[in-house]
Amino acid sequence: MIAAVAPIVTPKIDWLAIAPEIALGGAGVLIVLVKALMRRRRGVFEASVVIAFVGVLVSGAFIGRQWVDVRHGGPFTTIRGMVAIDGFGVFLGMVVLIATVLALLLSIRYLQREGLDAPEYLALMTLSAAGMLAMTTAGDLVVVFVALEVLSIPLYVLAGFDRRRLTSQEAGMKYFLLGAFSSAVFLYGVALVYGATGTTSLTGIARFLAGNTVVHEGVLVAGLALLLVGLGFKVAASPFHMWTPDVYQGAPTPVTAFMASATKAAGFAALLRVLGTSFGLYQADWHLAVFGLATLSLVVGSVAGLVQRDVKRLLAYSSIAHAGYVLMGLEASTARGFSAALLYLFVYAFMVIGAFAVVLLVGGRGDERHDLDDYRGLGARRPLLAGALTFFLLAQAGMPFTGGFVVKLQVFAATVQSGQYAMTIIGVLASVVAAFYYLRVVVAMYMSEPEGGSTPAPTLPVDPATAVVLVAAVGITLFIGFLPGTFLHFARDATVIFRT
């Protein structure tokens, strides 16, 4: 017997809202298809490179259009609140796309040099970027989770992509095991929050909390805590940073650059949305947790970095510290703090990818010479390269007239403005400590000779793609350092988050 079926109302889909994700995901799928159909023919890799870049550019065009739409028509949600297009999401989407382009540029020559020129690498990177984009505009915890998985699973494979190198295998394995665990924790958090509020919609949660008093807060707060753990893992905030040094060190250097810039931006997108939109009213509850996360990240990242000899590990600890600075903006929990956090992610993407571009060249064939000793005398051998690395490291340390200084100042100012003086002091102290290890690399490059008169291993020549990355990174970091105004407005406009 067939019962009378009630038609399920399917949501109307605003294709333009999800076009950036579709373009990137489509590019990834197309690359797999091309690889499957032209298995042994020449030019498969070149064709995949073209597809990947076309995908990113088309995606960027749609994101640009969304930015214009949001500026004129205001933020909106679509597909029953699953996707929230607002200045905030679109801004971080741009950061993700820029980081993807730069990482792809670094990857091409690296893959050919190491004999890893498989189209799969490009497919994985574009698919991961698609997941990140979905994360920046997610309007529902379920979408956040799906996006988290879409961005993570390709990254696990990418981290272990250089299968001949034991450290790369180790990185892939560690990242996978810990990442899968953190995803489970996040999902449990989603379940608890749903249990407490009866909805998974980010704005729905906010509406529920505004209209109702939760009598037994335990479930809700526990759920929020688990969400913080899951996302804290992705952005490499301490105390969920244990994987970061090993994975950053072992993963192929372009992948590390991608992880440090794009993944961080996507993770913070979800974190800012969950805390700012859904739990804005529960600020008293999460404030202390974020304060703790920020403090620990700053301390661990700055102090543990002091004893590192491997430059990739050192940059990993610095990346933990930078997660702490972004969390400071969050801790201020004002519009000013949020816009400072956004701008920080934007500038950090350039500073960190630029630094890893130099590391990639110094690492040489095999991607293994990352010890501080390999940087001895680089200033004499390759003055331009050493100069570029010095610039990126000093920018990360917060030297005036670089973007790094401007964003640090913004973050500190935001915490002062909201009266979080303890946070400001910790931040300033941490940046003083961290400056020491950045300078250690600089000293090694300029003030010490290679040991024992041995001829140092040759540094690779700068290929055009890497040159583009270096010039862009230096240019933007300097530009923001001297003329921060335009970008400050840009980030301020972006903090208009969709709420109702």
Binding site: I8, T10, V29, V32, A36
Partner: protein, 120 residues
């Protein structure tokens, strides 16, 4: 609320009965059977000959089949509830599922072209 827990009473009874039954059967055997322990009795049985190593062996290449199995397994999990409600989902559901299956098939095509299905 008590009614809610009452409905689980049957489950508890079943669990208890199962434990009791297994315990009783193994316990009776323990007391009835003769006991003459010899070290040979604790070896892995391998058709009467001396066992070589204690591990079961399976070829590592089976992992590909396991992966492909998971792919179709997940597909089935999604398709069954979809099939039940197909009528009410209409064309929208059909197109959505078509996209889903096409993308999954693409994975299979990739694996097939890569030659992982050939046992050589």
């Amino acid at each position: 609320m008590t009614n809610y827990y009452h409905s689980y009473l049957a489950v508890a009874v079943f669990v208890g009965a199962a434990l009791l039954m297994v315990g009783a059967m193994l316990g009776v055997g323990r007391f009835v059977r003769p006991q003459r322990p010899q070290p040979e009795k604790y070896l892995t049985y391998e058709a009467g000959s001396d066992p070589v190593g204690g591990w079961g062996q399976s070829n590592v290449r089976y992992y590909v089949y396991a992966l492909l199995f998971v792919m179709f397994d997940v597909e089935a999990v999604f398709i069954f509830p979809w099939a039940v409600r197909l009528e009410s989902l209409g064309w929208y559901g059909l197109v959505e599922m078509a996209i889903f299956i096409i993308v999954l098939t693409l994975g299979l095509v990739y694996a097939w072209r890569k030659g992982v299905l050939r046992w050589a």
